[in-house]
């Protein structure tokens, strides 16, 4: 696995790209490569992270403009190949805007930008993003978002529940998300989008290590 490379996508306005890279390289010894959003060559990339931030200044809607970048255009083939894609916060918003994941993320119910640690229930082990083999059904991760309220229609919600696509649910819903949803996967399980920031929970000195496993699972086949 020494050559395994995780691409960290950089949009104008991304601001968690370096945190993700630090967590992967510094805490997990996984090689990373920054990918400017205008690149569409993913041939030497084994897994991708769409990091948090404010791509294109959140203009129009969060993630709406990023969706049209050459890199996102190349993502369809990447996902179909079975390689793993992790969308964190703004990355999750981009994945819903571009249709890789269903639903949408809209302004928090109370309009506050919420910056806090939240407790999350692991609902599904689809894709192996959270299943450590050790029984830990609840994890604590930081959130930092103004538009993180997950919304979908009732048919979509039923599909998410029936197909075990809900990965994480808030224990105490901070933003008004439907069904307390904090993260979902695609049907195959190789795409995960979540509002919490696992890369900010990878070292005890900054408050916890519950995010390590999710980042580490990028190298799963």
């Amino acid at each position: 696995m020494n050559n395994f490379t995780v691409g960290v996508v950089v949009f104008p306005g991304s601001n968690c790209d370096r945190d993700v890279s630090w967590a992967l390289e510094g805490c997990l010894d996984i090689r990373t490569k920054y990918l400017w959003h205008e690149s569409s060559d993913l041939s030497d990339i084994d897994a991708l992270v769409l990091p948090g931030g404010f791509s294109y200044g959140d203009y129009l809607r969060c993630g709406a403009i990023a969706r049209f970048s050459p890199l996102i255009n190349a993502l369809d083939e990447f996902v179909k190949s079975g390689r793993r894609v992790l969308g964190i916060c703004n990355g999750f918003q981009i994945l819903t805007e571009s249709g890789f994941l269903p639903g949408a993320l809209i302004a928090n119910r109370n309009l506050n930008f919420i910056c806090d640690d939240v407790e999350l229930d692991i609902v599904s082990s689809k894709g192996g993003w959270f299943n450590e083999g050790v029984e830990k059904q609840t994890i604590k991760l930081p959130i930092a978002h103004g538009e993180g309220r997950y919304h979908c229609d009732s048919d979509t919600l039923k599909k998410l529940v029936d197909n075990e696509l809900i990965a994480l649910r808030y224990k105490n819903n901070p933003n008004g998300s439907s069904f307390d949803i904090a993260g979902i996967t695609n049907e195959k399980g190789n795409v995960l989008g979540l509002m919490p920031h696992p890369e900010r929970a990878c070292d005890e000195t900054i408050g916890g290590t519950d995010g390590l496993f999710t980042l580490k699972s990028l190298i799963l086949k």
Partner: protein
């Protein structure tokens, strides 16, 4: 080629809670305005566009609305069009 002025209105679907609209409604009541039953905030996008006739322009605007201006998971759109 004809030129058209298009006004696109994008609104949150009625089923989607609009917290910004609720906050503005609350401020409107504090201002003393009476009788406000509902207040919801949308977006208006003005586009000047040229094409061969209204039908062609409508096709272009439909595509823009559906794929970019609105996210139809949460929003509805409508537009008006005026030949310049």
């Amino acid at each position: 080629m004809d030129q058209f002025a298009v006004k696109v209105f994008v609104r949150l679907r009625p089923s989607v809670l609009d917290p910004a609209g609720e906050a503005t409604k609350s401020a409107s009541i504090k201002l003393g305005a009476e009788g406000i039953k509902s207040l919801r905030i949308g977006k208006m996008i003005e586009v000047k566009i040229e094409g061969n006739g209204e039908n062609e322009v409508r096709e272009k605007i439909d595509l823009l609305c559906d794929r970019l201006f609105a996210n139809t998971v949460i929003e509805d759109y409508e537009y008006s069009l005026k030949k310049l």
